[in-house]
């Protein structure tokens, strides 16, 4: 047995079922996961941390007399399986009954995935392959007289879900990420990409993009806070817009913690905003089933600015009298469900065209430390970072000191003047998604920092 996971989910499930039945428990669910993740990290033009981790996990959830609870372990031998089943049964018997608890999900055919998400080349990536790519990227930044920091990661993940109602679903995929920050004397630039197939990444090109941003933002000017037209690159769009999707949840609405309370069916964004949740989109990733094994449906969350579909886990769907959408989290949990495969429809423009059409505005590469200020008006605060530029007369004229913003997402997505094509993008504040760049008027910057 090597470092990479060699999990046999069906064998583990057989053990779980046998142990549960021998204890008189007939309703039981198991989730088996395994992963091998490796990450090569660099700073000051040098690899300084390079790691690899192999992890496995088995979690078991019985249903006994209207009660349920979950126990987990990473001991996947016979004793480990026996112990975790015993523990799951013991804590389930001690928990409070839930009158709304549903029996386990029944077997439902999965929707087919048209695009491969497992690539042997990514799964087989070695420390040497990552180190050589990193060395080349560092060289690109060094040649600009700058300092590089970043990561190159590759990994394999497996998740499988079984239950005693004959649900048996699993998903295996690979993922590669490259992110780089280039630092000059008084400025910086950043670029990042991720893909299931590492051959879709170009670390050197990302390094050169970051270096160019650092060079072009040197000697940053300070502009007063205020409302500006901004051009948000895709990573900035997703890190900010991504903060709202937990609210597209029937459970969140029932709990009164969603900004969509009393807004379903209303037009709250501009007509040019259409957003789907679509796990099967060619640029998306992740399993096609949810935490109870229900296949994920494609949702149109926002259609021409109007809030349409809401994610429903099985319990929320039963309470609402609708079909579950396949977005539930593993039970038991207090959050219910959320869409996690976001596709924001793009437009005909491009970042270059947005700049060219802007008399005075600010081009933003990346946002940072985004936190919710107001849960109903969906106001968020955060900072710009690693490449903030002044646009004047249709071109980038200078770098700028970074701003703090306090911006309502409802207002922002009502003020979008142009969208680029949507791309698979990745930031640091939320999950990856398919998102366009956006030109937004009246973006609210409230303070300026020292750099």
């Amino acid at each position: 047995m090597g470092v990479r996971p060699s999990v046999e989910p069906e064998d583990i499930w057989d053990g779980v079922l046998r142990e549960a039945r021998s204890r008189g428990v007939s309703e039981v669910e198991a989730i088996v996961t395994g992963s091998y993740e490796a990450l090569t990290r660099f700073a000051n033009n040098s690899i300084h941390q390079s790691v690899a981790e192999r992890t496995t996990n088995l979690s078991v959830r019985p249903i006994i007399d209207g009660r349920t609870a979950r126990a987990s372990t990473n001991r996947l031998d016979r004793d480990g399986i026996r112990d975790v089943v015993e523990q799951a049964i013991a804590i389930t018997r001690l928990t409070a009954p839930d009158p709304d608890l549903l029996p386990l999900a029944d077997e439902v055919p999965e929707y087919p995935c048209a695009y491969p998400r497992f690539f042997d080349e990514t799964a087989a990536a070695t420390p040497d392959l990552r180190a050589r790519a990193v060395a080349e990227a560092i060289g690109g930044v060094e040649s600009a007289g700058q300092t590089a920091a970043g990561i190159y990661s590759t990994g394999v993940s497996l998740s499988a879900l079984f239950n005693s109602q004959y649900v048996a679903v699993w998903h295996e995929e690979t993922m590669a990420r490259f992110s780089i920050t280039a630092m000059a004397a008084d400025s910086s630039g950043w670029a990042k990409a991720c893909a299931c197939d590492l051959r879709d990444l170009d670390p050197l090109q990302l390094a050169l993009t970051a270096a160019l941003k650092a060079a072009e933002s040197r000697a940053p000017r300070e502009l007063p806070p205020g409302r500006y037209t901004v051009i948000l690159e895709p990573a900035a769009v997703l890190d900010l817009a991504g903060q709202m999707f937990g609210d597209f949840s029937a459970t969140a609405i029932r709990d009164g913690r969603s900004f969509l309370n009393d807004r379903i069916g209303q037009k709250i964004f501009g007509e040019n905003i259409t957003i789907h949740d679509d796990v099967w989109h060619r640029l998306q990733a992740g399993p096609g089933f949810d935490g109870e094994g229900v296949p994920r449906k494609r949702l149109t969350l926002v259609d021409g600015g109007v809030v349409r579909d809401i994610a429903h886990c099985r319990q929320a769907a039963a309470l609402a009298g609708v079909e579950p959408t396949g977005h539930g989290f593993p039970l038991p949990n207090e959050f219910g469900e959320a869409p996690m495969n976001i596709v924001i429809e793009g437009g005909e423009s491009s970042v270059d065209q947005m700049v060219a059409s802007t008399e005075r505005g600010i081009l933003v590469t990346r946002l940072w430390y985004i936190r919710e200020v107001d849960p109903y008006e969906k106001i968020f605060t955060g900072m710009t970072r690693d490449g903030t530029f002044l646009v004047e007369g249709g071109r980038v004229t200078a770098g700028l000191r970074n701003f703090r913003f306090n911006q309502s997402l409802i207002e922002m997505l009502s003020n979008v003047e142009a969208l680029s094509a949507a791309v698979r993008a990745s930031g640091e504040e939320t999950f990856d998604m398919v998102a366009p760049a956006m030109k937004v008027r009246d973006f609210n910057f409230t303070e300026v920092t020292r750099f």
Binding site: M1, G2, V3, E37, R41, A43, N44, N45, S46, Q49, S50, V51, A52, E53, R54, T55, T56, A69, R70, A71, S72, T73, N74, R75, I91, L94, T95, A96, T126, D128, I138, A149, I151, S153, T181, S188, G226, R227, D255, R257, D262, P332, N333, Y369, I370, E372, V373, D374, Y376, T381, M383, R385, N402, N406, N444, E447, V448, T449, R450, F451
Partner: protein, 484 residues
């Protein structure tokens, strides 16, 4: 566990390394939540694995596995070494480590009641009683309660000959009331947001928090916020409660003093620091009454950053960070201490589990108690008193921050005159601490737990401790979160 650690150390040491250490870690935890009268999340988990760190060919390599067979350990050891050697492709300097002694020790954090000796149904009964009490108040639309417990045993073994067996018990508990009305969501939490209070204690923490007794007040405040006035925008004296001040310390002092950040290790993700090396001993960080320590020793208190040894085998220490307003110290590791010419690490390397590499992390970074009474702290002609964090954000060099709180009161001549909703304040870290005018004494000092500090790639989530008592700051910008 000791056998595992030594077996892994032997596997890697025989392959020819400059230095290696191994952490064998066994974690057991329990999480319980309720929501509106029903059990929410009820779970128990266990995880065991090893992390192997090697220094070879002048570079670090790290591999972790939960395959604890002989072959699994050998494979992880080989991979750690392969990673270190591959890193030569882009390694600009040889890693050196500050010297450290060899230690053999066993330490268990003191607890009065083993949290795992309390049955799950008893945990639930306590939480459901609080949940019911919260929902007695008309207007509370969502009641949430939680408890979490963890026992973490770690055996550390290194090629220095150290063998350190530590067991830490962590407990946390708290609740929140949320009220949705007329297009507005208001929330109050007790005793803090982020799931309440978290300490290096056993089940006694739950008993000490008096959850049930505080539920009616918190529920009433959540509902009352709907009719409170909006926090005004402008500049005024600010009084901050101890839990919010703990997060202020965390963000505007704790992170900037991480020496790995200062030296650039985190530049791509968590960022860097305004506390460049030339500032040490020169920067006026705060007013004369501001004294901050970084203290992992048990005598500092049962904080989330309390231990006997850090995760590279360095004993827990106390380090002055700010003394009488002057910036005097960083948090270090063996590598960063050597890089800046320090004789020894001050013991701040921590990993969030067996699968992750130790990084410089806050231990307990605390503001020492002041000499003022609580009345003296509140003795302002006009001030705003803010309680319990709601939002937090700071730039990637830790200059500009903005915090939102759940609730505030306007203070006139030392007295509360009206409740304010949606309060926020913002500023520049050093300007804020230099505006500190009064700090309450030891009797009002609490060692708060921050359970969700993120850093590193892959990201690690760490619990940190921050002691603070309520304090007053002059002429702080308030209300800009809703401005513009």
């Amino acid at each position: 566990m000791k056998d595992l650690a030594l077996q892994a150390l032997d596997a890697v040491a025989r392959r020819g390394v400059t230095y290696a250490d191994v952490r064998a870690v066994e974690v057991r935890d329990r999480e319980i939540t309720t929501k509106n009268g029903k059990a929410g999340h009820v779970s128990s988990s266990e995880s065991t694995g090893i992390g192997i760190r090697v220094l070879a060919s002048g570079c670090w390599g790290f591999a972790a596995t939960d395959d604890l067979t002989h072959d699994g350990i050998q494979a992880a050891a080989a991979l750690a070494l392969e990673i270190a050697r591959a890193s030569r492709a882009a390694c600009k300097r040889e890693i050196a480590l500050a010297p450290e002694e060899k230690y053999e020790a066993t330490w268990v954090s003191p607890i009065r009641i083993d949290p795992f000796s309390i049955a799950v149904d008893e945990n639930l009964n306590v939480l459901l009683a609080v949940d019911e009490e919260l929902r007695r108040t008309a207007g509370v639309s969502l009641a949430e309660t939680s408890m979490n417990f963890e026992r973490r045993r770690q055996v550390f073994a290194s090629t220095l000959g150290s063998l350190i067996d530590q067991t830490r018990y962590l407990s946390g508990a708290g609740f929140a009331a949320l009220s949705y009305r007329d297009g507005e969501i208001q929330k109050r939490s007790y005793p803090n947001s982020f799931g309440g209070q978290h300490e290096l204690k056993g089940y006694e923490l739950v008993e000490e928090l008096h959850l049930l007794e505080n539920a009616p007040r918190i529920a009433e405040e959540a509902v009352a916020l709907h009719t409170a006035d909006q926090c005004p925008e402008g500049e005024c004296d600010l009084i901050v409660d101890s839990s919010q001040l703990a997060l202020q310390i965390h963000e505007s002092i704790g992170h900037p003093i991480e020496l790995d950040r200062v030296l650039g290790s985190e530049a791509n993700y968590a960022g860097m620091s305004f506390l460049t090396l030339d500032q040490l001993g020169r920067l006026r960080y705060g007013s004369d009454i501001v004294n901050v320590v970084c203290d992992a020793r048990p005598e500092h208190g049962p904080g989330l950053g309390t231990f006997a040894f850090d995760d590279e085998g360095v004993p827990a220490q106390a380090t002055d960070i700010i003394r009488a307003g002057q910036f005097v110290g960083y948090m270090t590791s063996r590598e960063t201490a050597a890089e800046v010419g320090e004789a020894r690490s001050n013991g701040c390397m921590r990993a969030d589990g067996w699968a992750r590499l130790p990084l410089i992390r806050m231990t307990n970074v605390s503001l020492e108690p002041g000499r003022q009474s609580l009345d003296e702290v509140f003795d302002a002609e006009h001030a705003i008193y803010m309680q319990t964090n709601k939002s937090w954000s700071i730039d990637d060099k830790r200059y500009n921050f903005q915090f939102g709180c759940e609730i505030a009161w306007e203070i006139r001549h030392g007295k509360r005159v009206r409740m304010l909703k949606n309060p926020s304040y913002s500023g520049i870290s050093t300007e804020f601490w230099n505006a500190c005018a009064a700090i309450a004494g030891r009797e009002h000092w609490t060692l708060w737990g921050v359970p969700n500090c993120g850093k590193g790639q892959p990201e690690q989530v760490m619990g940190t401790g921050h002691g603070a008592s309520p304090a007053r700051f002059r002429k702080i910008k308030v209300g800009s979160a809703y401005g513009g």
